[in-house]
Amino acid sequence: MPILNSVYRHREAGRPLTELAAYREAGGYKALESVLGETDADDLQYAFVRSGLRGRGGAGFPMGRKASFLPKDSRLPKYVVCNADESEPGTFKDREIMEMNPFQLLEGLTLAGYAIGAVRGYIYIRGEYEHQARVLDAAVRAAREAGFLGKDLLRSGFDYDITVYRGAGAYICGEETALLESLEGKRGQPRLKPPFPAVAGLYGSPTLINNVETLTALPPIVTRGADWYAALGPEKSPGTKLFSISGHVVRPGNYEIVLGDTTLRELIFEHAGGLREGRRVKAVWVGGSSVPVIGEEHLDTPLDYESLQGIGTALGSGGCIVMDDSGCIVRACLRLASFYRHESCGKCSPCREGTSWFERILQRMVDGDGRMEDFELLESLFRRVSGKTLCPLADGAIAPIRSAIKLFRDDFIRVCQEGSPRPEPMLPASVG
């Protein structure tokens, strides 16, 4: 129920920890000091497995297991890549971590590197986060000067450094293999899998890729113990999660909650201050825009991986977008369709062509030129695109539209006949 703020130290401290001294004061680098030269890399990996930490970028794959997939006896250098390409609509948690608490990310990335025996960590950050990239640059320099990065870390014999690498504006680079392509200086287009990055990732070497929030959770897991983390929330997927909430809520922002402990209703109405007077929840995209949309009837669902899956949606990245009954669901779908059309990298034709068609059909609906056949046409397009592409972008484009048509069919039919004039937005002044 309550906000926990125990994993991400700037939240616990209630202030930004952008200076190394401030981060040290808040318990920073204790985890790395306790591990280097003391704990065996395999034991550290096992601690990550036992913590039950799942990837916080969207797919939710268990972090420790992913690390265990890297070959132990490879003659190639190993790498850790931090996915800081946060671009999922409605998601802004990694931004907060990087601008308020860069050292905890660096410490987590170093712990992950030690656990797999990596030679270097890369932070691939989206180009639009230039400000956050500069905060990270400064943090890397400070950590290097203090001996937390570079050669022979804390005299343990472990050499490890971190590079901050800037993207240049492409949602697709959040997909792990597209990210690797981009980091290798190419167009950011996904690769065919397998081989998975754990076997052949960056420069063909074994590579562990994790999201900012995932890596940042590692230092407290080390200092407080994997069992402490595993005891937070549901057994299958424990821990805390940062939810970014935005849209038609009074107090948009990031909230750290224990998984399974808080319902969607509590997140919206208690933490995020609820809606404007007299408004009701119309639609919620609870895990970023690439998940099926849900309606008011699911507000009492606890926020955790299993419960959300149980009602047909997903926890995703935790980017929770709320729309009240002043909004138009068809317009919302059109806006998302435009997003995916713009961000499709063009490599797979079903996605390249399909996303354009989704947008075009929804546009004519919004214009009042929709036809009843369009519902069948969309469904047949979904069937032809879904599962026929290298990466999940196309499925991410389909999920919110397909679910919206199912849930709000009457709205779609009305809009097809009458069109949808632009509704009044929620302006800053209209917030109490």
Partner: protein, 167 residues
């Protein structure tokens, strides 16, 4: 920008990558800081500095939204138009800016005096501050009302252009 300047920018980070091709993106981003966009000559200089063919360099540059292969204004103003910001009035901000700068309401564009480019941006990750606006890649702020957004571009028009344009 000439190849020597690009090489000097890359030299300190060269050792960080097992494959020199990783230097292409940092090189392109740096080359762009001079004019705010990449000319054919800039891309040829990146090719020379990194050792890859100009056609490969162009193929990379043309992929990314924030590498501009055509001239843009002195300042690039990106209006986030994705769902969260739309619910918070991004379309109204967009219309006001296009109107004010006299550019196409569908595609955006550069004002007649060449000072300001208005472009749509996909989710900028400032959804808690919607409707948000980013100026070049350096500063993102919000929430903006249409009136405040117009004031912002008027201030930008008068302000000196930064020496390096990180976009």
């Amino acid at each position: 920008m000439d190849a020597d300047r690009i090489r000097a920018h890359l030299d300190p980070i060269r050792h960080e990558f097992a494959d020199p091709r990783s230097l292409v993106m940092p090189a392109l981003k740096f080359a762009q800081t001079e004019k705010g966009h990449l000319t054919r000559e800039d891309m040829a200089a990146v090719a020379e500095a990194t050792g890859y063919s100009p056609s490969f360099i162009e193929s990379v540059a043309s992929f990314y939204d924030r590498l501009y292969t055509r001239p843009v204004g002195n300042r690039v103003v990106s209006v986030c138009v994705t769902l969260s910001c739309m619910l918070r009035g991004a379309d109204e901000v967009w219309d006001a800016l296009c109107e004010h700068e006299g550019v196409d309401h569908h595609h955006g564009g550069t004002s007649a005096d060449g000072r300001i480019t208005i472009q749509e941006a996909q989710c900028l990750g400032y959804c808690d501050k919607g409707a948000c606006i980013q100026v070049d890649a350096e500063e993102t702020k919000g929430p903006y009302t249409p009136e405040e957004a117009v004031k912002l571009v008027e201030e930008l028009r008068e302000a000196p252009t930064p020496a390096e344009l990180w976009r």
